[in-house]
């Protein structure tokens, strides 16, 4: 009986105008997505070329400085660390333009002040390397950031779900067929399930066809290589589409049985949809700035200036050159001077690293909070899950930052252990002269490897399932309570 009603529902849907419109629009969107990402300019090919170029630059950078000795390498550090461009960008590209695609390394070079030559031994030095989290600079209108990716197509399908479900119950009630149907030996739950299945299949089948067309074009274009992992992830995304659609079907059935006429149900649904798809995710995201404020950029830089000035005053006071602790340049033969310089460098580097890291941590924590808040919208959950699978979005940047920091420790550990093996070295980190002067085998220097985990997708996925359950119960209850006439 369930299947019978579902079939009737599907046949009915197939004959409607909305189905025709959907069957036209959905493939257009999917093909547009495929063409743009498969063939478009600066697509995956260009990105991966750029990435490989940067990786090679990093390698030759390490080779160059490793040949100059461990001390030099320790101060210079690795080159810019690029983030691997995701293959599945066509699935979730929405905000990638706003997220930095690499972490750069700051180098500051200092020339000794020539004024005090008679008091201070001249020493030109390079400050210890530190990570620099530069924001990506884009110059476009913020409201035009929506991209035609799968996430957007998902949002558009949820719009169609509304158009399919708003009169599912209310329409039948008006036509009088609802009470006829219920006069059969069938429970409320079964009718609801049948309605659900009917709508679900009418939507999912065109979607699947669209996705197949999309993947076929992208595959034939040959610009984006697929491995078994990415096929699996795509399969997961199709499952997400199904979950997302199903939430909105339940929502539609809920309103449709709740209110007396179809148009009121549509108004409710439409406004709920606009709120869930656009307004909540953005307003809540922006609201975080008020909810959990972080210190302003000016305050942070003032603090940094102050702390650096304190160190400067301790070691190399500008006003009282005679009192400078760093009057002698570091050298292999002068361990005490080298040690002093090491303390100076370490303290400076600690301040810089601490403040830069804390800054970006605060910013990312704020964004993460915003993401968590916005997850009250199923559409946002859908977006985050797809981003988690495609390894794009802010969450992937957060995990990238963590891995780069881990790499920083690995690199420093490598320098220290390598230094220990050289008996001629003073073992004073971080001064060029205090470390081994021997060239290093560039093969042994650790290089950065990004490990991609999809753990980030689990939480929003759980929420998606939870929303399904919640809206199912809501729809069920409201249908149980609804009048048949």
């Amino acid at each position: 009986m369930i299947w019978h009603i579902a079939k009737k529902e599907i046949y009915y849907n197939l004959m409607t105008l909305r189905f025709v419109l959907m069957i036209i629009l959905l493939p257009i969107l999917m093909i547009a997505n495929a063409l743009i990402y498969g063939f478009g300019d600066n697509g995956y090919t260009a990105e991966i070329r750029d990435y490989n170029r940067k990786v090679n630059q990093g390698r030759s950078h390490i080779e160059k400085y490793a040949a100059r000795g461990l001390g030099e390498l320790a101060m210079v550090g690795p080159a810019e660390i690029p983030k691997r461009p995701p293959q599945l960008k066509f699935c979730a590209d929405g905000i990638d333009a706003l997220i930095p695609q690499s972490i750069t390394i700051a180098h500051r070079i200092n020339w000794e002040r020539p004024e005090y030559e008679d008091l201070v031994e001249s020493y030109s030095w390079r400050e210890l390397w530190s990570l620099e989290y530069l924001p990506s600079n884009h110059g476009d209108d913020a409201t035009t950031l929506i991209k035609i990716d799968w996430v957007f197509i998902g949002v558009f399908i949820s719009f169609f779900v509304i158009l399919f479900t708003f009169d599912a119950i209310a329409g039948e009630r008006v036509r009088g067929t609802l009470s006829l149907m219920m006069s059969n030996p069938i429970s409320h739950g079964q009718v609801l399930l049948a309605k659900y299945l009917g709508t679900f299949f009418t939507l999912i089948i065109p979607l699947l066809i669209g996705i197949l067309m999309n993947l076929l074009i992208i595959y034939l274009s040959g610009n984006i290589p697929f491995d078994s992992g990415s096929w699996l992830r795509i399969l997961g995304m199709i499952g997400l589409f199904a979950l997302h659609i199903s939430i909105f079907i339940f929502l539609g059935l809920f309103f449709s049985s709740r209110v007396s006429n179809a148009i009121t149900s549509l108004v409710w649904l439409l406004l709920t949809w606009v709120c869930l798809a656009f307004i909540f995710p953005s307003l809540l995201g922006l609201f975080v700035g008020t909810l959990d404020p972080i210190p302003s950029m000016e305050r942070i830089s003032a603090e940094k200036r102050l702390q650096l000035a304190n160190i400067e005053d301790e070691f190399r006071p500008a006003a009282l050159v005679e009192a400078t602790k760093l009057s002698e340049a570091p050298s292999v033969d002068n361990p005490s001077a080298t040690r002093l310089w090491a303390t100076y460098f370490r303290e400076r580097s600690e301040v810089q690293t601490r403040i830069a890291d804390a800054r970006v941590d605060q910013q990312l924590r704020q964004v993460q909070l915003a993401c968590e808040l916005t997850q009250i919208s199923p559409t946002a959950c859908f977006q985050y899950t797809i981003e988690g699978l495609a390894n794009t979005g802010i969450v992937s940047y957060i995990s990238f930052v963590k891995q780069v920091r881990r790499y920083r420790n690995t690199f420093i550990d490598f320098i220290k252990t390598e230094d220990k093996s050289d008996p001629h070295s003073l073992h004073i980190y971080p001064v060029r002269e205090g470390l081994s002067q021997k060239p290093v085998d560039p093969e042994t220097v650790p290089i950065f490897k990004e490990r991609i985990s999809h753990q980030n997708a689990i939480f929003p996925l759980g929420l998606l399932i939870l929303y399904n359950a919640l809206f199912f119960i809501a729809a069920q209850l409201s249908f149980l309570k609804c009048d048949l006439k």
Binding site: T16, N137, A142, T144, L271, I279, L286, G289, I394
Partner: protein, 541 residues
């Protein structure tokens, strides 16, 4: 209700077609209609009234009203907070800059900055305000480039991953949907109910009915727009940071009128579809579909497609940067050749000659080759034992040349920007077809937060740089001793021009918005005529 009756009566007396007396004597509904039978204005008023009431008393009106009001209020609230932050950041930046400016004592050291003041109208329409740079650092021999401009306002650049929702976005999406929801059953709904036949059996001309239905619908949407808008303005006004002046209020009124025009377009679209289709559900689906395409899909698709397949190919950035580096090589060659030919010096610094015994040191700092500009600073130690008069002559020759080369580099970058701009204009041209985007562009122009006004900032920054150069050459600063040393008195920079970025005047903004306003008007007229004509030919079965 009584108030309504009185209003009606007043209106009818104003039209001088009905007398007070007769209305008061027979205040009953029936007589009222009888009285107005031969009076088209009164009939029209009746239709309007009926349409208005049938809209206002529905649940969709109440839900729509509440949602529209609440989301506008929330959006304005969030944007006000953001504006306050940006304004505070702007003031700090300007103050810091003033403090640094006081420490300048060499002409070659100055580094004026052009700060963009946040626009208070961005509370309603964010546009480019948040994504664009708000500080341009002026260095004499560094070309000003949009991409190199900096941002100081944002404490958290990552938060820009969330769509910037503002009151205008809410109007664009929600009001249009509501307008369509009000209009979809004006004709087809009545046709289905059978009331259309009844109405037309009265001596009501069809044109009166169409106009009445249009005006009635608009009248019911009118309070929604106006009240949401006023609430938004009040919230913005409550913040101490906002300072709306008279011109701003004019602009806000213009935005309000545009919003009404936009709502009217959407309403007319719904009405037209309602005439064209026989069933209300079909109208609804079709109009919602068109709504989705016009408000959300169309411009994003256009922007995105053009971004990926640009019709005009700008020169690759890498090529331009290489070219600029080459130009700086050329500069050095040209300068060295001239200095050698005229003064027989190998290098400008060779022009510094000792006048008495002792060691002196000339330190020269040049920028690294990756930079788009070329900076060169000289520092002369023990300046009292050297003669710098020749060096000043050399500088007087080389500094204007350096600035000239920087201008050439700027021209190269500008050409790339112009090509990119043509792509943007192309997108804009396509997007405009959708009245939702025409509305967005028109409002952007009027609130002065669109891309053009952002570019105006960059243009002004460039002009400011020229002013600074003129100022310096007017003071003969290039050949002054204070260019490189402050031992005989530092640079006098009291009257250094200050960057000013006044907003476009209201008529200018209006003329910039005129194309889009025209498009909105054309849409309105075309849709109205189409609905009107179609309804005149409508067959009532």
């Amino acid at each position: 209700m009584i108030l309504w009756q009185l209003l009606t009566i007043n209106f009818l007396t104003l039209t001088k077609r009905i007398e007070w007396k007769s209305v008061f004597q027979h205040n009953g509904e029936k007589h009222f209609i009888l009285n107005t039978r031969y009076i088209p204005m009164a009939t029209l008023w009746l239709v309007i009234q009926r349409e208005f009431l049938s809209n206002v008393l529905t649940s969709r009106f109440i839900i729509g009203f509440i949602i529209c009001l609440m989301s506008t209020a929330a959006a304005v609230f969030v944007q006000v907070e953001d504006y306050e932050k940006r304004l505070a950041a702007y003031h700090t930046a300007v103050q810091e800059h003033q403090e640094t400016a006081r420490t300048w004592d060499l002409y070659s050291q100055i580094n004026p900055k052009a700060h963009r003041k946040p626009n208070s109208l961005s509370i309603f329409n964010v546009g480019m305000e948040k994504s664009g740079a708000d500080m341009v650092s002026i260095q004499l021999a560094t070309p000003i480039w949009e991409k190199a401009a900096q941002k100081h306002g944002s404490d958290n650049p990552f938060l820009s991953i969330f769509l910037a929702i503002d009151a205008i976005f809410i109007f664009k999406i929600i009001l249009s949907a509501l307008a369509i929801l009000f209009a979809y059953n004006t004709i087809s709904g009545e046709h289905e109910d059978g009331t259309l036949k009844l109405v037309l059996s009265n001596p009501i001309p069809r044109d009166t009915l169409v106009i009445g239905k249009y005006l009635g619908g608009m009248l019911s949407l009118f309070p929604m727009v106006v009240i949401s808008f006023i609430i938004g303005i009040l919230i913005a006004y409550a913040s101490p940071a906002t300072d709306f002046n008279g011109a701003d209020l004019f602009r806000l009124v213009a935005v309000l009128i545009l919003s009404l025009l936009y709502v009217s377009t959407c309403y007319l679209l719904g009405m037209l579809l309602s005439v064209w289709t026989k069933e209300a559900t079909t109208t609804l689906i079709l109009s919602m579909f068109i709504w989705g395409i016009l408000t959300i899909l169309h411009s994003n698709m256009a922007t995105f497609a053009v971004m990926k397949f640009p019709p005009y190919q700008p020169q690759a950035e890498k090529e331009i940067l290489q070219h600029i580096q080459q130009r700086w090589e050329d500069f050095r060659e040209e300068r060295d050749a001239y200095v050698l030919k005229k003064w027989r010096y190998e290098h400008p610094a060779s022009a510094i000659t000792p006048i008495s015994d002792g060691n002196f040191l000339v330190a020269m700092y040049t920028s690294s080759p990756e930079e788009i500009g070329y900076s060169e600073f000289y520092y002369i130690k023990q300046i009292h034992i050297v003669d710098v008069s020749k060096f000043q002559e050399v500088l007087n020759y080389q500094e204007p040349l350096r600035i000239d080369y920087a201008n050439q580099a700027e021209a190269l970058l500008k050409r790339k920007e112009q090509v990119e701009e043509r792509n943007r204009q192309f997108v804009k041209g396509i997007s405009r077809f959708s009245f939702a985007d025409a509305y967005r562009f028109a409002v952007g122009a009027i609130t002065d937060t669109d891309r053009e006004s952002y570019q105006d900032f960059i243009r002004r920054a460039r002009r400011y740089k020229r002013q600074v150069v003129d100022y310096l050459s007017g003071k003969n600063a290039f050949s002054a001793r204070a260019w490189f040393s402050s031992d005989q008195g530092g640079a006098e920079l009291i009257d250094l021009p200050i960057f000013q970025h006044p907003h476009n005047s209201f008529p200018e903004s209006l003329s910039r918005a005129s194309a889009d306003i025209f498009i909105l008007l054309v849409w309105n007229i075309v849709l109205f005529i189409a609905a009107y004509v179609s309804f005149l030919r409508y067959e009532i079965s």
